[in-house]
């Protein structure tokens, strides 16, 4: 029993509730939000140290032992993602001080983000399938409100798509959870894994796992992503950054967790399917990114393509690939948040989202230009930056398993993303400066300061990949050998 495991859930929840009472005091709201996110990062570090020295930490809520009670499980994989989420959210809060208009701030923006963070952290830490659904819903409900907050015409249109697709997939989620409970009689992830192992390969289980694959793929934007580029581009940059960094990654986390811990016994059907979906996502997402001219849509397709790339690791499921997937997930959360935040500044500076109407930003804000350039290189995976080790490991893992098509798709993706981001750079930053339209925010360049920590992180994570690697290794150990997780939860 370790109550620290509940802290990453409780801190955002308490903050969210507190901020409802303070919704007219904007300055107070901002600082409390930032402090809460930093506190959460601190708690995650404590939790990470505990996990490193004492192994997986669990908390049986209200003292009921699993499989009957609901259990929270902090393993290295979950803790790393909770920590990254806390850091990303802290930077996004800092950015929102200037990047979100006061009207939105007054209408519970900060509370909603905290509720969403509670859902995100809960999804990472839960050890129970139904609880995962609840945390998903908490996260999605808050994201519905965040995406429509402000009420522009574009937001209403995109919200409708977003809500419809998510309500549909949530319905499927509950249905498959019920189906699974009917088939095996438990919803605790560790217990599920055990029971499914005892039952041996069976048709119904494969059907349920395929249903869950569809559900999680919709959330992650794996293949079923048609709703994503529009929806993520509609709200202001700080919200897009949170969505792009966190929401799809939660879906990806659920996919990895489900198909390495629970449904790993029979890999011929589902893992092949994941591989095919991954390659298709890479191609469609990559070409989508290349073909667009709207900054936010390009970034949206970038998010999709990376999800496709991470799912290659899941299709291969060997140690190197999964280690790479953990590394790449952490990197992707940070770098996607950074890109969306920088794109927000770019749009504010030029007054348009279309790159063929921009130009010459390099001359009047060189810092923004070079930060964007470095972030692009990190996405692509140029060696000293954080994109490289993860990408290398995933490609290496695919080659080890003889999956040459997957490896080739991963390399092709690099080229496509490079092209799409350099296109923004060439059209947006080079060329003649055009007369900027009326500025939306006061001094958008000051926002660069709040993106700087993320920038620093992607450099550090790349340069000091060696000392970070043991943590990724710990995470990958549990993914490759589920019995560690099962024993820690069921304590047999």
């Amino acid at each position: 029993m370790n109550n620290w495991v509940a802290a990453p859930l409780l801190i955002p929840l308490f903050t969210a509730v507190l901020l409802i009472f303070l919704h007219n005091k904007l300055a107070l709201q901002r600082w409390i939000s930032l402090l809460s996110a930093l506190l959460n990062a601190g708690v995650s570090v404590i939790l990470m140290i505990q996990v490193r020295s004492n192994g997986i930490q669990t908390l049986n809520m209200s003292g009921w032992a699993p499989p009957y009670g609901i259990v929270l499980v902090a393993d290295m994989f979950a803790v790393l993602l909770v920590l990254s989420a806390a850091i990303v959210s802290a930077c996004c809060f800092w950015y929102s001080f200037r990047g979100i208009d006061e009207e939105r701030e007054r209408h519970y923006f900060y509370s909603l983000v905290h509720f969403m963070l509670a859902g995100v952290n809960g999804s990472f830490l839960t050890g129970d399938l139904f609880n995962l659904f609840v945390c998903f819903e908490l996260m999605l409900m808050s994201s519905y409100a965040l995406i429509v907050l402000g009420g522009t015409k574009r937001q209403f249109r995109e919200t409708l798509h977003y809500i419809l697709i998510n309500v549909l997939s949530s319905t499927l989620f509950v249905a498959s959870v019920a189906y699974l409970y009917g088939a095996v009689g438990t919803l605790n992830l560790a217990h599920l894994s055990q029971r499914i192992g005892e039952l041996g390969p069976s048709g119904p289980i494969t059907v349920v796992s395929a249903l869950l694959l569809v559900v999680f793929s919709v959330k992650a934007g794996l293949f079923l992503f048609f709703w994503l580029p529009g929806s993520y581009g509609a709200p202001p940059a700080a919200i897009s950054a949170l969505f792009g960094a966190l929401l799809t990654k939660v879906g990806m986390y659920a996919l990895i967790r489900a198909f390495t811990l629970v449904f790993y016994h029979e890999t011929t059907v589902i893992h092949t399917l994941i591989g095919i979906m991954g390659v298709a996502t890479i191609l469609l997402g990559g070409f989508g990114a290349v073909s667009q001219t709207n900054v936010n849509r390009i970034l949206g397709y970038n998010v999709i393509a990376s999800i496709g790339f991470i799912s290659l690791a899941l299709a291969v499921s060997n140690e190197d690939a999964l280690k790479g997937a953990v590394f790449y997930l952490v990197h992707d959360m940070i770098v996607k948040a950074l890109l969306f935040l920088l794109a927000g500044i770019l749009v504010a500076e030029t007054g348009t989202e279309r790159i063929n109407r921009m130009g010459g930003v390099l001359t009047h804000s060189p810092l923004l230009a070079w930060m964007f350039f470095i972030a692009s290189l990190a996405v692509v995976g140029i060696p000293p930056l954080s994109g490289f080790p993860g990408k290398l490991l995933i490609v290496q893992g695919s080659l080890e398993s003889g999956q040459y098509v997957l490896a080739a798709a991963g390399v092709l993706l690099t080229l496509l993303l490079l092209y799409s981001l350099i296109k923004i750079f060439i059209l947006g930053f080079w060329g003649k400066p055009r007369r900027p339209r009326e500025m939306k925010w006061k001094q958008p360049r000051k926002l660069l300061l709040s993106s700087a920590p993320l920038m620093l992180l992607i450099v550090l994570l790349g340069v000091f990949a060696e000392p970070v690697m043991p943590y990724m290794q710990r995470a990958a150990d549990i993914l490759t050998d589920p019995s560690i997780y099962i024993q820690a939860v069921l304590k047999e």
């Binding site: 029993m1 109550n3 509940a6 409780l10 929840l13 308490f14 509730v17 507190l18 409802i20 009472f21 908390l59 049986n60 809520m61 209200s62 003292g63």
Partner: protein, 141 residues
């Protein structure tokens, strides 16, 4: 519906609202170890307020219950969270509840437990959310 359009509905609901609220109260207290609880009692109470809103109008409901329902939601969440986290200070797992038997005047030997306080939080949160939704939709007319 225009104000005061249906005299029958109005007079009946004056009585029925109290019956519904009393039943909600019963559900709330019976909920710990038999069907009922904060959630369903909250929905019931919101139903009673909705009946008032239908028989009279939303302004009447605002006058009868002059609170900001968003704050009611927040207060409910806060109570529930605090009760759940109370266990942390006693070195117990999160959400662990405590109970004891007390001799109360009139009621005699009664079981009092912290789960009831948690349920009060749930009750307030449900009433708050439901009424916020209903009033928001109602206003759009």
């Amino acid at each position: 519906m225009s104000k005061g359009s249906d005299i029958f509905l109005q007079n009946v609901s004056k009585v029925v609202v109290f019956i519904v609220l009393a039943f909600a109260l019963y559900l709330f207290f019976t909920g710990h170890s038999s069907p009922g609880g904060g959630f369903i009692a909250g929905l019931m109470s919101a139903g009673a307020l909705l009946l008032l809103a239908l028989a009279y109008d939303i302004e009447t409901v605002r006058k009868v219950v002059p609170v900001d329902f968003k704050l009611v939601t927040a207060a409910g969440l806060l109570i529930a969270l605090c009760t759940g986290s109370g266990a942390l200070f006693f070195g117990e797992p999160f959400l662990k509840h405590a109970f004891g038997y007390f001799d109360l005047p009139l009621l005699g030997k009664t079981e009092l437990h912290t789960a009831l306080i948690f349920d009060l939080g749930v009750y307030l949160a449900v009433v708050g959310v439901t009424m916020t939704i209903l009033l928001t939709i109602g206003e759009d007319n």
